[in-house]
Symmetry: C2
Subunit: 342 residues, 2 copies
Amino acid sequence: MIQTLDVHTPAHSYPIYIGSGLISHAADYLRPHLGSRAAIITNTTVAPLYLQAIETACRQLGTDCFSIILPDGEAHKTAESLNHIYTSLLENHADRQTTILALGGGVIGDMAGYAAATYQRGIPFVQIPTTLLSQVDSSVGGKTGINHPLGKNMIGAFYQPQAVIADTDCLRTLPAREFSAGMAEVIKYALLGDAEFLSWLEEHTPAIMQQQTDLLAQTIYRCCQMKADIVGQDEKEKGIRAHLNLGHTFGHAIEAQMGYGNWLHGEAVAAGMVLACRLSEHKGYLKTSDIQRVIRLLQTAALPVCPPKFDAGTWLAHMQHDKKTKPDKSGWWFCKNWDKPP
Amino acid sequence: MIQTLDVHTPAHSYPIYIGSGLISHAADYLRPHLGSRAAIITNTTVAPLYLQAIETACRQLGTDCFSIILPDGEAHKTAESLNHIYTSLLENHADRQTTILALGGGVIGDMAGYAAATYQRGIPFVQIPTTLLSQVDSSVGGKTGINHPLGKNMIGAFYQPQAVIADTDCLRTLPAREFSAGMAEVIKYALLGDAEFLSWLEEHTPAIMQQQTDLLAQTIYRCCQMKADIVGQDEKEKGIRAHLNLGHTFGHAIEAQMGYGNWLHGEAVAAGMVLACRLSEHKGYLKTSDIQRVIRLLQTAALPVCPPKFDAGTWLAHMQHDKKTKPDKSGWWFCKNWDKPP
């Protein structure tokens, strides 16, 4: 069964299609969103798996398309890759009627979305996320961008896609470790105040880990819906949207200190959520039994629940660079007096 | 007398302050728009003239500021300069509470505005345009961006400032040729359907060329108001906003073929408007006497009214790259059969 979630943003509304077999029937889902030309942006890992299916769909729709294939990985989410995209768009005479199709995980989605936001001051784009992380997290919210040598995601824009096509079949080709990393964000949504979804997830995570299709689609739908609700209240991250960063301030510090790619983003967020829970416990907001529940769920999803051991100064140095930083005495106090990592 | 024009955009409303002495009393105008930190982005020509006044204003307001001084000229409106801005913002720990002050002409306004649009996905900025062109044209409309080696203004975003401070005193330090180039855009507004403003301008252009302060302020106010009306109807340039490009399709071709900087943008637009008028005459929309009136006004402002001589293929090649290009048989026919340049 294919589910469609309509996301409403100040700019426009767009559908997220979720289910099995979407890429093999891509023409059906791309039809309302493609004009005469398309630029498919993907990477060397995803291209051999799904590029041909998307090219075929374009051909079926009479859309003239060309591809831009980038190297895979966070290390390539740079100004150089972005410039390669711009040059290729210009060499292929892409205009404002050209649609960018972002085919890949979060890195491709962020970069292709940012290229769409800034090429000729904005052209349409469609997300085709191929990882669990990007399906649950990048499909909603309009965050696009690239890294700068001095900071991750420091350059970017809020820019909304015309549509998102989240095919659960893609997840079969995803390494187990990356699937787990995506589950970290899923669990984050369950922790953001939806007790019913948390219980449901505790019951079904073993089957989700086996990639049972309907459960997967329901999970993705529920996460996208929660994110859409939150982003709808605060598109530009001035208030409640910061909740979506549960575990991310610690998580970003882990990623940065360990070197990007050594800990996957979702793994760092998993350990970061445990730390955030311990901070809450320390401040008297959470019970130890609640934390045990979180840890058990993360472990069922094969995620790390202990951070690497850094000294307090290292944590502080990274956390001060977080975009959402607002000095908070009690928070810093906790870090400064950190002698026993949880 | 200081005039204030309030511009309403979908994102937010902002004031344009227009008049004499604004920079020497900058603290009064910056007060509502500055937080704890500011980054002043300017160039090597403007810095010796006005940077100190803006730094003093920041100091008076208790705003901690630092400056980023770029080389002057369109040749530096590049990804390299932009990256220099990002690096400097990061090295100075600029955050989302830091305001960018764009102090300079169109190039600084476009680049600093684009840096503000994309640094940490958007931080506030205030325009302090120091040329006539940027005061009448860049103050309204939210177009920001940089050039790409394969095309001018190909990378950019629509992004609105918090305020614009247009000090007519700045124009006294502007070379005469650049003042004239700004007048080309002023005359463009008069041609966009406001017969009364056109007559007023025909009467007052000699005094405006002498920089009579009140007339200058009235002129800038009227142009910003007209642009705000048009942009208000069509922020993202899907329809009527294209009118603002009167003369620009020909003008961009002249700039590109002659090499940027050899013909100033306004000079190319002046000759481009004459060509556009001739095209209208050819199609039966304008009388020869109307064109004579346009030419006379441009000449009063010391602007060129004849384009350089290119063959038809050269014009076509450049005009096909225009972002607003939509094939139009009669238009192309006119170009293809161009044997006598006007």
